[in-house]
């Protein structure tokens, strides 16, 4: 499983190429869905067709009569804890007497062929008593909805009171905003292969996930196995974006393998994938901004309601992220914010790129446009007047001690040239409506909109999401081991860059990504460059120090005088120089390092506390063409300047920024899981629309590189910021083009033309 990484010198700061790139372009890279084992069975899941129902009776016996079926399991077959979850363990492995959302797992089968599985699922008899749904989050906030779970319908509520919330301004603007339910829509659907141990007392699982060790913990609890008997290896991951932070098919697949004593592979189809993972929370946000006549914000009032769906997932943390980012990247001395995350019979929601901040940002950036209009200021000036700076106190009382180049991001973005005008004879595919050929050039108006955002990086509220890495060096060849999920972001490129820079070696091997080393934490919250990067750095530095000590002993030098410079060991006097490769001959080192970020703390009852580790910032300016008659939008250009700390691999950073912008564009004008009274209406790529290459705008970007002193490598995570403020930038551009009230995303044709 080791991959050789010898293509280039490839140190920090270079656009080193992916070590897995050749395998991926050849179609040889093994995604979890490509896993295969001799004698393997297929697994499949029976899901509830109802959003809320009591299970009167389940009869699995007809399924066992289908030729080729080896096992059928329900909640009665779960040997350990019947529920799981990332924060609150409230989600049933299989429904236990009641289903609370459409698509909730009820049973699973193992059989010799996927088609046999389908027939077996169809043969299972489930008698439901359909119950009324709780689908309006406001009913839960008001306490009017009947409780649909023993733990009630409120996952969490929290307020923030900061400064003097009674302060009023010369100008007040307010609005109520809505964000739809977005799907992560990774291309590689959920898949896993579970291989039981011969003694039936353990299981090996190959799975696409964001956090191997957390999966293992939850699986071991549900399977009633010791943690060390559940061994996880990362199967190739076809994108994640938050949707693989919760477990999905992990327990089911392992349970079927243990039950049958045979390897079992499970893979969701696209429709099942829509039901099989959590989504971005739909939210309603009300905000009122008070400002002085010269544009300075003096008070923000806000109210957030996040619809968490049937089970908790990470709703509690999403809520805190949302409310603590209510001010956006702006100074705000006084604030009062309240927020709820509630339980409904809608699909469960949890992590998606941006994690609660997307919802806050759409609201505060819509407000900034309103404020600019009310004051007669430009969208740029109103943001510059309020731009947050290092040293400011944010509404949680925490002092902003991250590098905070907000004004620079805005100014650099503002200086990016505008795209050329549409012209008199544009290509028909460049018009709103694209291949539908519906828009006529004379019906099209152009608009420009802004969005600026702040995003916390790493986990918050006292959680110690440490990362572990192991570095071995033998004869000058380095092998790195970590459990960091590579989901496409490029940590497998970055880690060898770190090792080459620290140790002066060329050849770096990557060991298999599995649970055979300590946790790396989750590939989420824009945290792995900082956290796992810090762990790899620490492990490599420990090896370097031991190596230099050995070289000193061998050559009669003082360790303190030696250092690695490029690919040589050098003495500070200049008397000794030797290539690392030569100096390392016959030497062997093995060091492991855990990187912990500084401690954070929970919020108090007034939402005060140093709850976040660090922050990153970005500005976006969108140019859109809108067919006002048909309500169609084409995003022409996105200009952006992003605070990245330090670009450790500029090519990877570019890819994250362009990819994040595409996802934010999707939320702005295309992507929404439509849910009616708990029923999902569009669980397919035919009906849930994703941006194609024809929808993608020109992206013109600038990187703001001010090394972050708190970060081990000076770099900030770059994954989430690109997708956050581009959404309001596009919505604001549509508002500017049309003059329509645009208070929700995605912006639908009817929001523009009706």
């Amino acid at each position: 499983m080791s991959q050789s990484v010898t293509s280039r010198r490839g140190t920090l700061g270079e656009s080193t190429l992916r070590p897995d790139g050749a395998a991926k372009v050849r179609g040889e890279f093994a995604f979890s869905s490509d896993m295969w084992h001799d004698g393997m069975l297929w697994g499949a899941t029976l899901r509830s067709p109802h959003a809320h129902a009591r299970i009167v009776r389940i009869d699995t016996s007809p399924a066992l009569l289908v030729p080729g079926v080896s096992a059928v399991v329900t909640k009665d077959d779960v040997p350990g804890q019947l529920t799981y979850g990332l924060i609150s363990e409230d989600q049933p492995v299989f429904a236990d007497g009641v289903v609370r959302y459409m698509g909730e797992p009820v049973a699973a089968v193992a059989a010799d062929h996927p088609e046999t599985c389908r027939r077996a699922l169809a043969a299972i008899v489930v008698e439901y008593e359909v119950l009324p749904t709780v689908h309006d989050p406001e009913e839960c906030v008001a306490g009017r909805a009947p409780s649909i779970h023993p733990e009630g319908n409120i996952f969490r509520t929290q307020r923030i009171i900061h400064g003097d919330p009674t302060v009023t301004g010369d100008v007040t603007v307010e609005g109520e905003y809505e964000v739809g339910m977005q799907d992560q829509a990774f291309l590689g659907t959920e898949a896993a292969l579970a291989v039981p141990d011969h003694d039936g007392g353990g299981v090996e699982v190959y799975v696409a996930t964001q956090w191997l060790h957390e999966d293992r913990k939850q699986m071991a609890q549900c399977l009633a196995l010791p943690t060390d008997r559940v061994r996880l290896t990362l199967g190739g991951v076809g994108g994640a974006f938050g949707a693989r932070e919760d477990i999905s098919l992990q327990v089911h697949t392992a349970l079927l393998a243990l039950r049958t004593g045979r390897p079992v592979k499970m893979q969701y189809g696209r429709e099942e994938s829509f039901f099989g993972h959590v989504h971005r929370h739909p939210a309603r946000v009300w905000m009122r901004h008070h400002a002085t006549r010269d544009g300075r914000i003096v008070n923000i009032e806000a109210r957030f309601v996040f619809d968490g769906g049937a089970y908790a997932s990470t709703s509690e943390a999403v809520l805190i992220n949302g409310i603590t980012h209510a001010q956006g990247p702006y100074k705000c001395p006084n604030a009062s914010v309240t927020g709820w995350a509630v339980r409904t019979n809608n699909p469960p929601c949890g992590a998606m790129r941006g994690f609660g901040v997307v919802q806050a940002c759409f609201a505060h950036e819509s407000q900034m446009e309103r404020l600019a209009a009310a004051l007669g200021m430009s969208p740029v000036d109103v943001r510059l007047v309020n731009a947050m700076e290092t040293g400011d106190r944010i509404i949680t009382g925490q002092v902003m001690d991250s590098v905070a180049p907000v004004a620079e991001c805005i100014r650099l973005t503002d200086a990016i040239p505008m795209p050329p005008p549409l012209g008199t004879d544009p290509h028909e595919l460049s018009l709103p409506g694209g291949s539908g050929l519906t828009a006529e050039a004379r019906h099209i108006v152009r608009g420009v909109g802004w969005g600026v955002s702040i995003k916390n990086i790493m986990y918050s509220e006292g959680f110690d999401d440490f990362a572990t890495a192991r570095c071995r060096m033998e004869n000058g060849v380095v092998t790195l081991k970590f459990a960091t999920s590579e989901v496409g972001q490029g940590f497998v490129t970055l880690a060898p860059q770190i090792a080459r820079s620290v140790l002066g070696v060329d050849e770096v091997l990557l060991d298999t990504i599995d649970t055979g080393v300590g946790s790396a934490g989750s590939t989420s919250a824009s945290r792995q460059t900082w956290m796992s990067g810090g762990a790899v750095l620490g492990a490599c530095e420990k090896v370097r120090d031991a190596f230099l000590a050995a070289v000193a002993t061998r050559h009669g030098l003082r360790p303190a005088d030696l250092s690695v410079r490029d690919d040589e060991v050098v003495d500070s006097s200049g008397a000794f120089r030797m290539p690392v490769r030569q100096a390392a001959e016959g030497l062997s080192f093995d060091e492991t390092f855990e990187h912990h970020h500084r401690a954070t703390e929970p919020l108090d009852e007034n939402g005060q506390g140093n709850c976040h580790v660090a922050f990153a910032f970005v500005a976006h300016r969108a140019v859109v063409d809108v067919d006002v008659d048909l309500g169609l939008v084409k995003v022409v250009q996105v200009a952006t300047a992003q605070d990245v700390g330090k670009a450790l691999n500029p090519l990877s950073v570019t890819g994250q920024i362009e990819g994040g912008i595409a996802q934010g564009l999707g939320l702005a004008v295309m992507e929404e899981i439509v849910v009616t009274e708990g029923r999902v209406r569009n669980p397919s790529f035919t009906d849930y629309l994703l941006p194609t290459i024809l929808d993608s705008p020109v992206v013109d970007m600038r990187l703001v590189e001010v090394p972050e002193p708190l970060s081990p490598l000076g770099a900030k995570g770059v994954g989430e910021p690109p997708c956050i403020s581009v959404t309001p930038a596009i919505a604001n551009a549509i508002r500017a083009a049309t003059g329509r009230v645009i208070n929700r995303v995605p912006v639908r044709p009817q929001d523009i033309c009706l």
Partner: protein, 161 residues
């Protein structure tokens, strides 16, 4: 259920398919029976292009083609692009330009780009976008993919001149 035997011509080689259920898609048979997992399944509806293969010279979504319907026709997959193990110019450009992140869409895109450039050696920007609009990539936002195609077109132009 599994009782059909037939032969498919894949990448120039006749490959027997034994004891197959006749309802299997070409994608399933390539991946699960013939050991060719390069084509990926991501939507089962012909919307995403991850499963793109060439069938009698046309780019198709192999999830929408019944395997049995490909009997007597020529199937070309990503595995057939570089039998000697080297990378094609398109594949190399995808790596060099950062067009690969998670890589799930990549084999389908590589097949689609080769198909485009075989028929249209010097496409304009809109022709590139139109030809690849059936291939969804969720990671890259497409910018580096366009850069990769541009690089191949430029290099090929240079080598023809």
């Amino acid at each position: 259920m599994n009782n059909e035997t037939y032969t498919l011509s894949v990448n120039g080689t006749d490959m027997p398919v034994h004891d197959a259920w006749v309802g299997e898609s070409l994608l399933y048979v390539l991946r699960e029976r013939l050991g060719l997992p390069g084509a990926k399944g991501a939507c089962e509806q012909g919307e995403c292009g991850s499963c793109t293969v060439i069938l009698d010279g046309e780019a198709v979504c192999s999830c929408l083609v019944m395997a049995a319907a490909a009997v007597g026709r020529s199937v070309a997959t990503v595995e057939g692009l570089n039998p000697d193990g080297s990378l094609t110019d398109v594949q190399q450009a995808f790596v060099d330009e950062g067009a690969v992140q998670c890589g799930f869409c990549t084999p389908g895109l590589v097949v689609a780009v080769h198909h485009l450039l075989d028929s249209t050696p010097v496409p304009d920007a809109m022709q590139v976008k139109e030809a690849l609009s059936g291939n969804i990539c969720r990671c890259t936002g497409y910018g580096r993919i366009i850069a990769a195609v541009d690089r191949v077109v430029e290099v090929r132009k240079g080598s023809r001149a």
